[in-house]
Symmetry: C2
Subunit: 132 residues, 2 copies
DNA sequence: GTTCGTGCAAACGGTTTGCAACAAT
DNA sequence: ATTGTTGCAAACCGTTTGCACGAAC
């Protein structure tokens, strides 16, 4: 899409077909994909895409603030394009990660932790998604 | 120590020299060591110790509820023997993880997240430790 | 023509597994 | 005898790196 091309140009990245395929997928999904999931999905749009380019592109998107790597799952980094502050709920049955809007939870008491200069924080919840 | 031997027996683990060395270190430290750090330290007490046994022992200590693996750092699992509920602060300068007592923070609003059955949660904070 | 981006394959680091030897029950 | 535990080495998996080719400026 024209928008994506402009977006990449704005942040100083050449809009190659590979980067477009990666960005198109990772910026649109809310599924918190791993690098390998991005690779599988984006390769459908751009079959020549290699793993190295996926890792490379995700690193640059992250540097440019378009995506945030999250280390909340065992063994893998997942990528989150929802850039506003928010919390996470991890469904232990399925491994699915859900975004929880910032305003849904209030954390109080951090002001009293004087030994720490808190740059960011989030609540990480684990459990089951309700069936109903 | 006699206590450690009884403890391992109580949870149904044979108190071998290797397990004693691993348990003695990981249950006493508050430094959130990685498996490899446990290996290095415990090997001083028990030079025949292998990496496989460290991973094996940590997995069992975890099953038995004596230790909790935490996935809050990039690329590694760290082990926490502080089993009461608590939060974590990660010093981004040093990579050090600090335990934050449960009562120091209050999280409210979780009751309203009706789609989720929350089994556990913690606040994960990142920043710098204050110099003063 | 110099820089940037790519694919490939090899390397890497943390973790798991298969297996044969051995100790405990 | 059966089961549990160990060390070793190989396998594994996610990620990074080196490099030579090609495209963009």
């Amino acid at each position: 899409m024209r928008n994506l091309i402009s977006l990449l140009r704005e942040v100083g990245l050449q809009p190659t077909p590979q980067r477009l395929a990666v960005a198109q997928y990772v910026l649109a999904t809310t599924s918190h994909p791993t690098a390998d999931e991005v690779f599988e999905k984006a390769r459908k749009k751009c079959p020549t895409l290699s793993r190295a380019t996926v890792y490379n592109t995700l690193a640059r998107l992250s540097e440019k603030g378009l995506v945030r790597p999250q280390t909340i799952m065992e063994g893998v980094v997942v990528f989150d394009a929802y850039m506003e502050k928010h919390h996470h709920f991890i469904d232990e049955d399925t491994g699915t990660i859900h975004d929880v809007p910032w305003g849904d939870l209030v954390v109080s008491g951090a002001e009293n932790l004087r030994e720490y200069e808190i740059r960011e924080y989030q609540v990480v919840m684990r459990g089951r998604r309700r069936s109903g």
